[in-house]
Symmetry: C3
Subunit: 347 residues, 3 copies
């Protein structure tokens, strides 16, 4: 399919510089673009590719317009415009409805007629599958689960019993929602399981990455609010609450009962310990350990970046000698002070 | 179902303060509790909710009794009592037995008549499924696997060939037990696979979290001893041994051939390198890197907690200048020493 | 099956010391070996077991020959020789071909007659399955996927639509290849999905660990070159490229658009942020955070190893006081300088 630039500019409210009737049929990076491509500049690391691009048009911010050799769609938020135009240009596949011959659906499940239940899917009793829901191959939807309209499970997703998903929720393959929290009491060395009786509430417009796990609450529910976006291989422990529109990158773990605020971003590989409370608009760098509540909005970090091995070994050695350094510093201060005293005495 | 307080107090050996005939039907947090709820105080962070609780009774330690406005079950280990009472109060569902119509079981598999083989399960040849075992939807049990009595695989679990599970083992969705270890020899730049010929031995009463992976041994077996509890998204590499009643939190990785002792706890996001040996009763904080054997019981840590970004950048800058600081310190010491020498010379 | 030592020595080009006609039937560790075992010494930590081994023969390097009490196969790369001999000694199971009765294969899929489609497998339209490919139980192969000859998916693997696998690719259970990248544009607080239109290209001889996730590119493809080996629970984000023969250990995450070079090794639990470029032959220690491009080959580290808690708390306290230490150091320098000035003045 082919789109005119003026149509796309209008879609995103961009100012069009150049030939309004030029046509594009695909989105490409600046480097790969050729005639018929629309491209974008959203990360300054790629500015070097702008001048030589063969794209038909580029979506960019005002500040880069002067360097653009081709048609330009200028807007305040080029990343958003790119997302919107790219989505708009994709063909929309005919949605599937009905039930694949190999799916198994319990008699007591309520499945909307517009939903699709894919190959080898299992839907247990008392599950409720809303309108236009898409359940991909190999997914397991246990008893009592509710899935809101227009939600989509990709493949091999597991939804444990009695959890609730909002509308337009998108879950990538291998994710597990509603597994038991890690609740253990210690009986003289032996661990005794604490029953995990809560559930998981997933809001609307939530996206959950591949092989991410979200545990059910012990008593209260684990809550993922509207608009939250979770990347792959994330662990959300029992009773965690994540506020609206917060995004978390891959390999991060949030321990039990911690409350993350709204409009926050957490980088990849972050570890947040349990029972903390965060303000809204907290932003945490990749690979940071958080051991205290973060009561103020802002940016937080806490890890040392890689260095060449030799340099790093020196740094570690120094860190190990900090105690000694402090003592030597104090010793010097004392000596200097006594000297000065002597000087005074001498005077 | 309804339970009298004296029945529950007796169950856990608690001392009952208040109305022994009061009745409860559910467990709740201090904040959420209402009439008919039994609650508990096991973490001092929640002490603030005790005075205003509407629970019918609270399980707590002696030290909190004076602040309890309602009936109290006083005991030495309130967390354990809560776990036991909560489990006792849950209705026990009738166990399933037999085989779901969509399950596929190889002719050579031996399945106890009291076991349940759920929807879309695959059981391969020579697998042995013990009494009262429950295999949830989508699980794959490969050839030669043995599963002990009363064990439960939740959903989409994969047990690779020839591994052995003890009794009362509980495995959460998406876990993979017995995948090949990461064994590679380098042939002039090209990696050559080292056959992974060992197995995995899982003891009794082991719990394994969602999407956790445990690799089979290269020659010897990977061993998870009785009573070990593993959270979600944990990696246990080939030939690792984990001692009895050790608990490991989510997102932690233990590299090959390392031996973890008994009665230990390892926090979330920990990385333990290979070929180490740990004493029993070793406790490691979240997000710690362990590069040496820990021969003594005790508590170990090693990561810097998050700080506001500005402060953190300063800290990093200082750490990078430690070498310079040390030099300047030495320089000062030298100067001061030569001064003193001069003083002596002067004398 | 039984193998003569001279046959094995010839296979790997080793120099045989001892009885060339001695026979072995299995591979064992030095500690576990008995008559009929061939063992190996490839890690100096296990040298202590050499002198007392009961193996029939040991594969080792020249430098350990004098301590070997039994027959020896001496070679330059004992680890490689062990891998090759161990593989050679394993019985080769008859490969399966055809389609399990419970598999579902779309009419539009093209499956080579020599391939095996296992129980409960789903193969969607336009998938192409090459010769001798083995698809294990519960795997999902979505529409348009291409799998090259002799590749093997173990169990419950998900290959998302339109991705391409080379030949002899081995994928362990629960891995997800081709899930959407984490591409989000922010619209005044609300996240808008950036369509993920690229694919994943997996080269030949790639091995991918259990529950590892590899996202599809946003526009370009995510590329895993020939000979790459990925351990379990690794996250490879969209548009990442990993060069030939690079090996990455478990629990590591590589963020979007980063390019890892050839012949590199990355330890477990490493976090690499996005949009970086690495040279070839870069080696990164376990649990390191990488925030900058590594343009030079070499060894990189960046994390503090565990210490006993008491010691660690002191270290953290000192690190927090580095700013103060620096000030006190400067103060001393100033004082000493002014003293010296005074001395000079005095002169």
């Amino acid at each position: 399919m082919v789109f005119r630039l003026n149509e796309l500019a209008e879609l995103v409210g961009a100012q069009l510089h150049g030939d309004a009737s030029a046509e594009v049929s695909k989105v490409s990076t600046l480097q790969d673009a050729d005639q018929g491509s629309i491209s974008f500049l959203t990360n300054s690391k790629y500015r070097k590719y702008l001048k030589a691009t063969s794209a038909t048009a580029v979506i960019l911010g005002e500040e880069n317009l002067q360097d653009c050799p081709v048609n330009a769609l200028v807007c305040d938020n080029p990343h958003l415009a790119y997302a919107q135009i790219s989505a708009y240009m994709q063909p929309k596949p005919e949605p599937l409805t009905g039930r694949h011959e190999t799916a198994w659906v319990a008699d007591g499940a309520v499945v909307d007629v517009t939903a699709w239940i894919g190959p080898n899917v299992v839907i247990e009793d008392d599950a409720t599958i809303g309108p236009n829901v898409h359940i991909g191959p190999g997914c397991v939807v246990e008893a009592g689960v509710t899935i809101g309209a227009d939600s989509k499970l990709m493949a091999n997703v597991t939804l444990c019993h009695d959890i609730t998903l909002g509308e337009r929720v998108l879950i990538h393959p291998g994710a597990v929602i509603g597994s038991d929290g890690f609740g253990l009491a210690n009986d003289d060395g032996v661990w005794v399981k604490v029953p995990q009786l809560g559930s998981v509430l997933i809001g609307n417009d939530v996206e959950i990455g591949a092989n991410t796990t979200i545990d059910r609450g012990a008593l209260r529910d684990t809550v993922i609010a509207n608009g939250v976006k979770l990347d792959n291989l994330i662990q959300i422990a029992h009773n965690v609450e994540i506020g609206e529109n917060t995004a978390i990158a891959a390999c991060t773990g949030i321990a039990g009962s911690t409350r993350i605020g709204k409009n926050s971003t957490i980088g990849g590989g972050v570890v947040v310990v349990g029972h903390l409370e965060f303000a809204d608009s907290v932003h945490i760098s990749a690979d940071t350990l958080v051991t205290r509540s973060l009561k103020e909005p802002g940016y937080y970090s806490g890890n040392l970046p890689a260095a060449p091995n030799k340099e790093w070994r020196k740094t570690i050695a120094h860190i190990r000698r900090l105690d000694e350094m402090m003592h030597r510093l104090k010793e010097l201060e004392k000596k200097l002070a006594s000297q000065t005293d002597n000087d005074i005495d001498d005077a």
